[in-house]
Symmetry: C2
Subunit: 222 residues, 2 copies
């Protein structure tokens, strides 16, 4: 049996469904929404990696805006400031996956510490959690932005650990992003990959401890 | 007038056309070749970024193999070791873009130092250059692998500089990869983005000094 005291969740794609952003893209850019939202997400990650490597850190809210501008330019469309604001605001109003509130409630009743740990800056994360049904269960909202780092650097996971005042072996980290699970595993957290899209394991020689298709799986975790 | 003494080129996609790899993918995995080669390239870059951030460096040849394995698994196909070897060997037999030999010849006649600077490890780069018509023009093959770094870290570009024994302002760096141009600009090289695919400029607040649609453009560079 492991001695887990805190369940730490990634936010985007793990607890919160970003599908509503895709929908909003399609609404504002008919027939181009899918491509825009895919490029947007890809560039959002890529820009965070590149900025980390170049030593040019900017908050995730800035990176998200820049990635959106690229994605719209990439399909030769125009992005008005009103549309830009609507799309960025959509990130603060995401819905949660169906099973999430029930699972979090159960874990809370078992006395577990529940935390979110995300690349998202607090200006994005705090309003998102506040408007969601998860607000009452989440004990800590931790952002890698507090120390100007992005996951998956070891320093970013160290920040989560320090914020929780626990040891690595007391943490179970959950994410739908394979690369995030690799980073957490590399750092020494217990890991559960929430593989919502039936993707292959990332070939980074850092296999997840457990894999579940959605968050209900972690109720069996031990 | 700038005082450029060395023309430094990225390899993959800049001098060498990776289309033949796509063709080989399609030959071995009919109807899935396009998707495999796209995912392969995307994961190849992503894994280099992630390994750099995690402090888990491996040579580009390893990362390229791992990315291929992911890409094939992602379309639920099987990768035999024979097919794997064929596809990895394709990277050592790439053709150059049509205009490249002529441009390099002209620059050499002007007494310029010509170098390749790539993430590719020497086991990939050296045979590639040797079998190409560029071998007679290239004075230096520099790999970021020599110091266990990946572009776009500042350390990687420092290595190119040290290898050439020049100052930053003596270098014109050319790449078809927008992120690579951002990294070189961030470091302080002169930059020319060879925008072969008519993509938007990366939104990283590091604009290229010049943009050309192919390599002939640099003949006008001053």
């Amino acid at each position: 049996m492991t001695n887990v005291k805190a369940f730490v969740f990634d936010a985007y794609g793990t607890l919160f469904d970003v599908f509503s952003v895709t929908k909003k893209c399609e609404e504002l850019f008919p027939s181009k929404g899918d491509q825009i939202s895919q490029t947007w997400r890809q560039k959002q990650l890529e820009y965070s990696y590149l900025r980390q490597m170049m030593g040019k850190y900017r908050p995730f809210s800035t990176v998200t805006r820049d990635a959106l501008r690229y994605a719209v330019a990439d399909v030769d469309a125009e992005l008005s400031s009103d549309n830009e604001e609507q799309l960025l605001n959509a990130y603060k109003e995401l819905t949660v996956y169906d099973e999430v509130p029930g699972v979090l409630k159960e874990l809370e009743e078992q006395g577990m510490t529940l935390a979110i740990f995300s690349n998202g800056s607090h200006d994005m994360l705090d309003p998102l959690v506040k408007q969601s049904p998860l607000a009452e269960y989440i004990d800590h909202i931790i952002s890698a932005d507090d120390i100007n780092q992005y996951k998956p650097t070891p320093a970013s996971y160290t920040h989560a650990l320090d914020s929780l005042e626990l040891n690595r072996e007391n943490i179970l980290f959950m994410s739908s992003n394979g690369w995030d699970i690799s980073g957490a595993k590399n750092f020494g957290f217990h890991t559960a990959w929430i593989n919502r899209n039936e993707k292959p394991v990332e070939k980074l020689a850092l296999e997840p401890d457990t894999i579940y298709s959605d968050l209900t799986g972690i109720k069996n975790w031990s």
